[in-house]
Symmetry: C2
Subunit: 561 residues, 2 copies
């Protein structure tokens, strides 16, 4: 059995490795048009940030062996041809035409099964001047190398990052320093627009600005201008001009589908190669996976294009198994994504609130803040969890996390719960591991789920900081009731219109002082005491009351602008 | 509605807080026989370790307010009587008799609902001399205070910890230092016998010894002997005598059920108070929860006694809800537990391998090692995951984790998957969050699940280090095939009988050199290459081959004794 794999970066080598283990006789060939194979592309921002010292570190195994042509030959018994481009698929005769990019010689290789692992390419917007020098992407190790070399020469004092998706944010964080100023230009009105809802984005924006990055939102780039040497020196936006010395384009990626399309394989509406649950294209001899293929979404059942290394690796196993006769299936995705930047861990899984509403779901959400470990344990930090669920039954639709503290664990638990169709009440019941270094006795995730369920059942009435800000901006009168302890208020006083301070401990005595002619918003540090205060006021017959969700841990990002 | 809560440490205050929020009119009274309420008992070892500077830190809220009588009165509108013991329940007249421990005055308080939150007490074995001075438990803040004070005076140079359960291990780790020697006496043949299977215990034992602790297993204590001042100075065991200056008894806890039993409430076979899914006892006016009540196990459906602060808090919510008329239920537990000690994070959920076998399950297990983050990211470390599943269908029964790296996340994901009846194939499909700081592209958990599924299906043949050690000890001939890279072998050579070194990269050329008259065990660092080598040898027609599960990351604990 001859198996040809087009693409040698992520999923290609995975298919080869798994297939070799379960089928010792397969003749496996990997074609890679670049000179490097099997590298950790996700590590490029960390290389630029000097967290990864050498580019080769991204190409070695965990035990220090370079995954090169010889490695694949000796350890996987797979032939690897680098700098060899697959230029055409002859589906009728089951042959793939290849061109050696060094010699320009062409040849046709026969296959029984062909695996398209052609990956993605940066999506570069057609902006005038985009081909000027010193305009880079962060897609290939060569890009990262060029960026780092140019910074090392110290000629560069200002970099502009176009786009604030995952790679844009990681790269901005990797670059910014007292000696290197960074401007981010984001066309959307918020950062990480595909990852986070606007309320969660705000938490990230606050941190980005706190790190000294010039963050320009709703910023449309009209042109790049070059200097005498045709290197970029200016970014022209609708709002004005940014003098700069380097530009990183981080406006996403597109699937590399030329070969597939030309061969008549079906391309989905997402623009990526359509595959079935076995990763098979419409030609049963041809599979596709990784960044060139689309996935199916767990919640909507619809095709999506969410290219991730984790997805690619899992698909690689499915493809190898299916070729070997094992009826493996690739499961629908939840789009679970995570990044670490600007001291924050940021992530999401499932649908966002906007996405869910747009799809007609009757949505209930909660935004909760809490500590990732007991407050008396020396290492503890805050995290914020947003949960999105169906109002009718509490079924989880999605989740977003953001914080300095341990967010990844809560995100993975939520991604796992989502897979099994968990409801908020199931999350409350989770038997998660508790010890002081790892959680509070009521884990912040369970607290978040409880808040969600309380809100869904109408036991708790919460209001988001975004909503408070909008109402105040619209001139609505609100009573902002700050129920924190005196030292907390002193350290971080609230200056919103209509703020009134009564500590929670005094509230039972002094509640009659509170004006009742407008909505009362109870405000505390994390939202828990605010909820308690709101319950207390409700018990006094006050119905126009809501607690600030996530407390000032979330609110500060909105109120101090 | 009058609600009396007996016990003010963990679940008692939780019942009061939740009930107050959902029922503003309830008259809530908390009775606590001690002088302190609402303290974080789980933090005591960290106080002893000087990680928590002041004992009061365990009694404050996260925003720095002491949770004392005044706090509960002002913030929760709940009366708290400390140093007040509930001595008798008059179920017919719905009254509880109390005694003020300062004045010795008795009184009867009427209730509509009574909540028993009487907690647990240390289980102290009836060993002669156990009442000598300087013999402590680690149960109450006073205990921790006494231990710490005594160490501060620097009279103590040696401490003996009796028992190596969770508290024993945490306490030993908290105490051991170059100036304070620690001996652990464990009656069982392994540490953490209720938490881990013997193979996982071995990993912990290696670390404990590495920290200079004198670990005595299968060690039965016969007596304690005292000095002239009746302070303990000697521990007499069946194996010999340990000169010591302080003893910590950490042999578990028993539920505090005196009051319940005397009132004729049903006590379960576990020795704890029997409750239904609403935490109701056989008297519908009396609830029980926390450390005095039993739980039901998710997998066996049987009553268990696994006292945990996380469980108590969740039960508190259920009790308050049910009293308020909300039909809440407490879900069965998985016994998820975690601890941090000796640089390791150690945890388990569900059933252990031995437990599962004893219950008649046809069990398949895998032990896998891997990195918690990409190897090129600066912060990464190893963890080991043991999965226990049903051979028939791959349904997860339990999991154990141990390692310097990030184990808590994987444990919580497994605990979540377990709740939903996940099979190994579901774990393989999990859409977990990947970025270089948080995971490898194939998360170690997914790798563990894949290994389990490969073994279940007979694709991979693994052998445990424990099994290898037993076979070699029994004189069986094995071919230990070390397929690591030369520098790895040099750094950490294997010295087992029958060891042969052929690097994986040479194996395809040199496999015929390997003797085939005994089982070939392929050995690498983490188990992944060993699996690959085993597959390769199988493809050459060699059937007597198995890879060392978890590689030398696990094997070292067994082979270097």
């Amino acid at each position: 059995m001859k198996v040809i794999i087009v693409g040698g970066v992520a999923i290609g080598p995975k298919v080869a490795a798994r297939l070799r283990r379960i089928n010792p006789d397969a003749e496996i060939t990997i074609l890679e048009k670049g000179s490097l194979i099997s590298y950790g592309g996700c590590g490029l921002p960390f290389y630029v940030a000097n967290l990864v010292p050498r580019l080769e570190d991204l190409m070695t195994t965990s035990y220090g062996v370079i995954r090169d042509t010889e490695f694949f030959a000796a350890q996987k018994n797979a032939k690897v041809y680098t700098q060899t481009e697959a230029i055409k698929i002859d589906r009728i005769n089951k042959r793939v035409w290849v061109r050696n990019l060094l010699t320009n010689l062409e040849d046709a290789l026969p296959y029984d099964y062909l695996v398209l692992a052609t990956g993605s390419k940066p999506s570069i917007p057609p902006i005038p001047g985009v081909k000027l020098g010193r305009i880079f992407t962060m897609h290939h190790p060569h890009d990262a190398q060029s960026v780092k070399d140019l910074i090392k020469t110290k000629q560069v004092k200002h970099v502009t990052v176009i786009g604030s998706g995952l790679i844009g944010i990681e790269t901005a964080d990797a670059l910014v320093s007292p000696r290197l100023k960074v401007t981010i230009c984001e066309a959307d009105s918020r950062v990480l627009p595909k990852l986070l809802d606007s309320d969660m984005s705000k938490l990230v924006e606050q941190k980005i600005k706190g790190h000294g990055v010039d963050l320009q939102l709703s910023c449309k780039v009209k042109a790049f201008e070059g200097d005498a040497e045709d290197n970029v020196c200016r970014v022209i936006t609708e709002q004005g001009t940014i003098e700069t010395e380097m530009v990183i384009i981080a406006t996403g990626v597109r699937p590399e589908i030329g070969l597939a399309r030309e061969a008549g394989l079906t391309i989905g509406n997402t623009g990526a190669i359509q595959v079935d649950e076995h990763q098979m294209t419409n030609d049963p001899a041809i599979y596709a996976g990784g960044d060139c293929a689309e996935q199916r979404h767990l919640l909507t059942g619809e095709p999506v294009y969410i290219p991730l290394a984790s997805t690619a690796n899992k698909q690689g196993r499915v493809i190898a198994d299916h070729i070997a006769g094992i009826p493996a299936r690739f499961a629908p995705v939840e789009g679970t994504s995570i990044l670490q930047a600007f001291d924050l861990t940021i992530g999401r899984t499932g649908l966002g609130e906007e996405e869910a509403r747009n799809r007609g779901y009757n949505v209930v959400t909660s935004v909760s803040s809490g500590l990732d470990a007991t407050h008396y344990y020396p290492m503890h930090a805050l995290i914020t969890i947003k949960l999105i669920a169906e109002q009718e039954n509490g079924r989880l639709l999605g989740a977003q996390v953001c914080g300095i503290g341990e967010c990844a664990k809560r995100l993975d638990v939520l991604a796992t719960a989502l897979k099994f169709g968990a409801k908020a009440e199931d999350l409350i019941d989770l038997d998660l591991a508790y010890a002081p270094p790892f959680a509070t006795a009521i884990d912040v995730l369970i607290h978040a789920a409880t808040t969600l369920e309380n809100m869904r059942q109408g036991i708790a009435l919460g209001i988001t900081a975004e909503n408070v800000t909008k109402r105040l901006a619209a001139g609505e009168k609100l009573c902002i009731l700050d129920i924190r302890e005196p030292d907390e208020v002193m350290a971080n006083p609230l200056s919103l219109d209509g703020t009134m301070v009564i500590g929670l401990g005094e509230l039972r005595e002094r509640w009659e002082e509170i004006p009742r002619d407008s909505l009362i918003v109870t405000v505390c540090g994390l939202g828990i005491r605010g909820y308690e205060a709101a319950c207390m006021l409700q018990s006094k017959g006050i119905s126009q009351v809501a607690f600030l969700q996530g407390g000032l841990n979330v609110g500060s990002a909105f109120f101090k602008q």
